[in-house]
Assembly symmetry: C2
Homo-oligomer: 148 residues x 2
DNA sequence: TATTAAATGAGAATGATTTTCAATTAGCTC
DNA sequence: GAGCTAATTGAAAATCATTCTCATTTAATA
């Protein structure tokens, strides 16, 4: 049992896992904590490192398994960088719409969803049924812009 | 020399390659043709298969190299599927905004860019400088919806 | 047609991700 | 709290995609 890292997201994760009859293992809660602590989107390796820092040696496969499961459960979101790199961030709602700094890979929220206000009519005219959308803005965050 | 597959996109590709002092090889033109022929976004493997069908044995590395170069040249766009899969489609403008059918992986254009009309002010208030954006809508195309 | 830099092919190397399976653990029940 | 059981983990092997290397070939130009 691990009580050291309780946070809203942790108890949320616990609840979701319980509902599905899945176990709230130390490793899974550590992944939640690492993701929650960071304001950045993290690569699988970074998450692995963070978890190892908390728990000591931890299998990489477990990290992959946890992340995949968390994505299915809607706890985390998987991001795709232009170079194909995989990143994960705590899910902040139903859709992915993040600003991602191409320098520090930091992830920033943006208040409204540009697609939300978009007129789907023209799209649906073509018979296409939109089920989900994925929006990422790329650029430089304030800090990185200054530093440059 | 290969004259069998001439199309607008082929001559465009030739031109871009020429401008950069790059060669319009049989393989590169075949990649253009395969992509142009298909209304779908294609995986690297599918493109490789298409090219092999046209030319016979062709190195996979060449396909990767060509696709990477074409992306740099703005000739093709790289798409990212929710499962992390890589896809390529002929570039239809400056930005990527496609509808992608999750069943057949077909790619459909959508007329306006939802992000274009988006008010960046709130984002830039946070000091973030938007340089590019990536929008993908996921759903079912008309055919797949019928078939289901 | 000769020249030459650019490009290709084949396979080796790399790196990321997934699988396997024996050992461990969380979440029950008593 | 101890015992039970299915779920989970760790470690290593296996797989898969992607990149690299370098000898050979080719496109573009003269």
């Amino acid at each position: 049992m691990m009580k050291d890292f309780e946070c809203t997201q942790e108890s949320y994760a616990r609840e979701v896992l319980r509902e599905k009859g899945l176990k709230s293992t130390t490793q899974r809660l550590a992944v939640v904590h690492v993701l929650h602590t960071s304001r950045k989107s993290l690569s699988v390796g970074e998450i692995h490192d963070g978890v190892k820092e908390m728990l000591g040696a931890t299998g990489l496969a477990t990290i992959y398994r946890t992340l995949e499961m968390f994505e299915d459960l809607g706890i985390v979101k998987r991001l795709h960088f232009p170079d194909g790199g995989r990143g994960y961030a705590f899910s902040q709602g139903e859709h992915v719409h993040h600003m991602v700094c191409v320098d520090c890979r930091g992830v920033f929220d943006f208040p409204e969803c540009p697609v939300e206000s978009f007129d789907y009519a023209s799209v649906e005219k073509q018979g296409f049924r939109v089920k989900d959308h994925f929006v990422q803005l790329f650029g430089q965050c304030g800090k990185c812009a200054e530093a440059a």
